[in-house]
Symmetry: C2
Subunit: 220 residues, 2 copies
C-alpha cells in the first residue's frame, strides 16, 4: 500500500469514525483532517467534497455487500423470503452507519444531487443493485405477467429504497417499526404480484405499467 493510499485511507477512516460518533453535520472537515493528521486542504486533495466521502462509503458498502447477498439467497426460493433477505442484508450492513446513510439519503430524492440513489453518479451502483432483483425473480416459483416482467426489477428496487429510507428515519427502539414494515410490505408486494396476473386485474396492471413508464422517463 503506497503512502498516498495510506493517507487516503486514514482520511476516510477518520471521517467515517467521526460521522458515526457525532453525525455527519457535526463532524467538520477540519476535525477529520486533524484526526487523520493532515492539514485541512489535504482532505480535499483526496476527496473533492465532504459529500464525496459519503459517496465513497456508499460505493465500498455496495461492493462489500455482494458476497453477503450471495450467501443470504443460498437455499432461499420463495419471492417473499428472497425480498426480505436482500433488504435485510442491507439493513444489517448499514446498521452501524445509519447516520452516514442519512446524510446520503437526505438529498436523496433529488436526481440532480450527486448523492442520490437516482443520480448519474450512482448509476452503476443502482444497476448492479437492480440486477439482484432481476435475479431473485428468476426461478422463484411465481408466474410473472409477461408485460410486467421487464419492469418489475426496477419497481422492486424502488420498493427496497423506500424501506431503507423508512429505516433511516425510523427512531423506534431497534428500528422495530421497520422490521414490521418489511414483514408486512414484503408480503403485500408478493400478493400484489400474484394477483396482478388475474384477468380482472389486467386494466389495473396496464395502468400501473403506464405509470412506471412516466416515472422512469424522468429519472433516467
Amino acid at each position: 500500500m503506497s503512502k498516498s493510499e495510506e493517507t487516503a485511507a486514514r482520511i476516510l477512516d477518520s471521517a467515517l469514525e467521526l460521522f458515526r460518533q457525532e453525525g455527519f453535520d457535526t463532524a467538520t472537515m477540519r476535525d477529520i483532517a486533524q484526526k487523520a493528521g493532515v492539514a485541512t486542504g489535504a482532505a480535499y486533495y483526496y476527496y473533492p467534497s465532504k459529500d464525496a466521502i459519503v459517496m465513497d462509503f456508499y460505493q465500498r458498502s455496495n461492493e462489500d455487500m455482494q458476497p453477503k447477498l450471495e450467501a443470504a439467497l443460498e437455499n432461499v426460493k420463495p419471492l417473499e423470503d428472497r425480498l426480505r433477505a436482500v433488504i435485510q442484508v442491507k439493513l444489517d450492513h448499514f446498521a452501524p452507519n445509519r447516520s452516514i446513510l442519512r446524510a446520503l439519503l437526505r438529498n436523496g430524492a433529488d436526481p440532480r444531487h450527486p448523492l442520490s440513489p437516482f443520480s448519474r453518479q450512482t448509476f452503476e451502483i443502482r444497476n448492479l443493485d437492480i440486477s439482484w432483483f432481476r435475479r431473485i425473480l428468476v426461478d422463484c416459483g411465481m408466474r410473472i405477467p409477461r408485460d410486467l416482467a421487464p419492469q418489475l426489477p426496477g419497481v422492486l428496487w424502488f420498493f427496497q429504497m423506500g424501506v431503507i429510507f423508512f429505516w433511516v428515519i425510523d427512531e423506534s427502539p431497534d428500528q422495530s417499526r421497520t422490521a414490521r414494515l418489511l414483514e408486512l410490505s414484503a408480503k403485500s408486494v408478493t400478493t400484489l404480484i400474484r394477483l396482478s396476473g388475474l384477468p380482472l386485474m389486467r386494466p389495473v396492471r396496464k395502468a400501473a405499467l403506464q405509470l412506471v413508464e412516466v416515472v422512469k422517463g424522468d429519472s433516467q
Copy 2:
C-alpha cells in the same frame, strides 16, 4: 401597517423575488437584506433562519389556496375529478415558485427537519390539507369500505405529496410528465379504491391498512 410589519414584508418580498430569480441556494442572506434595504442582521430579527422564510412562504401559500380549492371543487363530484382538481390547484399556485418549493421539499422526507411536510412545524398545515381530502370523499358517489374510510384521507394526502414532489423535480418542458402522471395516477387511485371493496381484495386491503398503521406510527 406598522413600520415593523412593513420591514418584515420588504424582507420577505425581497427574499422570494431573489429565490425565484436565482434560486434558493444562490440568493444569500446578504443579498436579501441589501435588496430590502437593511443590514444583514435585520433579516434575522424577523426570520430566525433562511429556511424560516421558506416556511413563511409555505404557510401563506396554504392560506391563499383555501378559496382557490373551494372554487375548484364547485360542481365537481366524481372522486377522480376532485382529486385532480385539488392537486392541480396546488401545482398552479406553486408554478411561479417551483424553486422555492424545491428548497422546502429538499429535506422534505426527514420528519425531524423543520421544513418537512411531516414535521411538527407543519402539523397544522398538514391537518388542514388532509381535511380537504376527507371532504372530497364525502358525497363523491363511491362506496368506501368502512375500515378504509378513516385512513383514506391521510393516504390521499400522501399521494398528493408524491405528485407534488414529482412535479418539483420534473424537468420536462412545462412539466408535461407530471401532467401525465397526475392523469394516470388519479385514475389508478380511484380504480384501486373501487376495487378495494371487492371480497377478493379483502386480505390485500387488510394488509394495506396494517401497513398504513406502521407508517403512521412513526411520522406522527
